[in-house]
Symmetry: C2
Subunit: 227 residues, 2 copies
């Protein structure tokens, strides 16, 4: 069975919908590979054209520039994560259990690659870890925010914040805690790989320790607020 999840993307992110054509889909697939190889700074549309056997000009018909493409990829990832959280928590009633499963999902690195044909979620997660923050750390963040480019991330945060709030009605900072959880899971994956002395997780193969750290962080906040 070939499930094909289709995520509704913000139309301002692209000039031509990459999902609508074969070339568009190949741009997505190959850009994920090439950004992983070269890093976002080293990545150019010219190189991508050569890499996938098309021209720079053809890629520019789909995306205004490489930053928009990055924002597209990152934004797709957050939507996909929210979708995974929805199916993960749908048959659970206890918000504590929901939160626990969400923390686990976020702590462990993505390994599988199911729902989509041309997107490798594992590689895409690496991009979000190493390059994701560059999508909003710009001088045009206000403009991009007006275009609603960060809506998927905000919705994901809001969903997690709702679960947090359901666990403890008194807790005052559910959104901040959700953001912290999301961001720090990714950060620690990066440190683990590249700056291992910043964390305790250097040899943490299946991310059990990171999971435990995050659990304590989240539950400690929820309990500590209202002991």
């Amino acid at each position: 069975m070939q499930l094909n999840l289709r995520i509704q993307m913000n139309e301002s992110l692209y000039l031509r919908d990459p999902e609508s054509t074969e070339l568009g889909q190949r741009i997505i697939q190959n850009s994920i590979e090439l950004i992983n190889e070269l890093g976002f700074e080293g990545f150019t549309f010219k190189k991508l054209g050569e890499y996938m056997g098309t021209t720079e000009a053809s890629i520019y018909r789909y995306f205004e520039n490489k930053h928009r493409l990055l924002t597209y990829l990152v934004s797709w990832y957050w939507s996909w994560l929210e979708y995974r959280i929805i199916i993960l928590t749908q048959n659970m009633n206890d918000p504590r259990e929901q939160l626990n499963r969400v923390v686990e999902l976020l702590s462990r690195k993505i390994k599988d690659d199911i729902s989509t044909t041309y997107i490798n979620e594992e590689l895409l997660q690496n991009i979000v870890i190493a390059e994701g923050s560059k999508s909003y750390l710009t001088k045009h963040v206000g403009q991009d925010n007006q275009y609603q480019f960060f809506k998927p991330f905000k919705e994901l945060c809001a969903r997690i914040a709702d679960i947090i709030q359901a666990c403890n009605k008194q807790y005052a900072y559910p959104k901040s805690l959700a953001t912290t959880l999301l961001e720090m899971c990714h950060s620690h994956h990066y440190y683990k790989l590249h700056l291992p002395s910043l964390t305790e997780f250097a040899k943490d193969k299946n991310d059990q320790e990171l999971y435990s750290f995050m659990q304590i962080l989240v539950n400690g906040s929820l309990n500590g607020a209202n002991p």
Copy 2:
């Protein structure tokens, strides 16, 4: 009285020591202003030359490229923060009180500008908040790490981790918690300004709420681990 704090910098960060000449000091001062204005992507040595009335070539005699300059600035900031933490905690014996003061220092935005003539710490903090992660989110992070460019950040983390560990000998993740504290304080300052729906701190003028959030996060972790 004009105190002049001199921070020992890693010599591989520059080609010629910017602290040793007037032009060098002006490069530091003006680059802090211009990166704030243009953002790191929009910033170039050519523009900096025009901005401060010198030539591109002269700036290249001090720094190999703009990324090295950014790393220099960020690295200076972490050293300066560690220095502030040292003087802040030197006459305190209770690690809980030390940690509390560190959390407060990190939660509140820098307002003053004392110890140095040509470095505006408030502006520099803005750069660290908005551009700091770009100093290590690159493909050459391994190389840069070998050059010890991230040593000031690691030392600061280690110092905070030591205080955390002193608060709770049983707690298993002092380094990860220190990293989290440092990173999230900066992140939340950015969200507050640019993506306010991601936090509860939009109208948090003197960062009292952020401070409270961080206190609960840290103390919750320390208590939750060993209730």
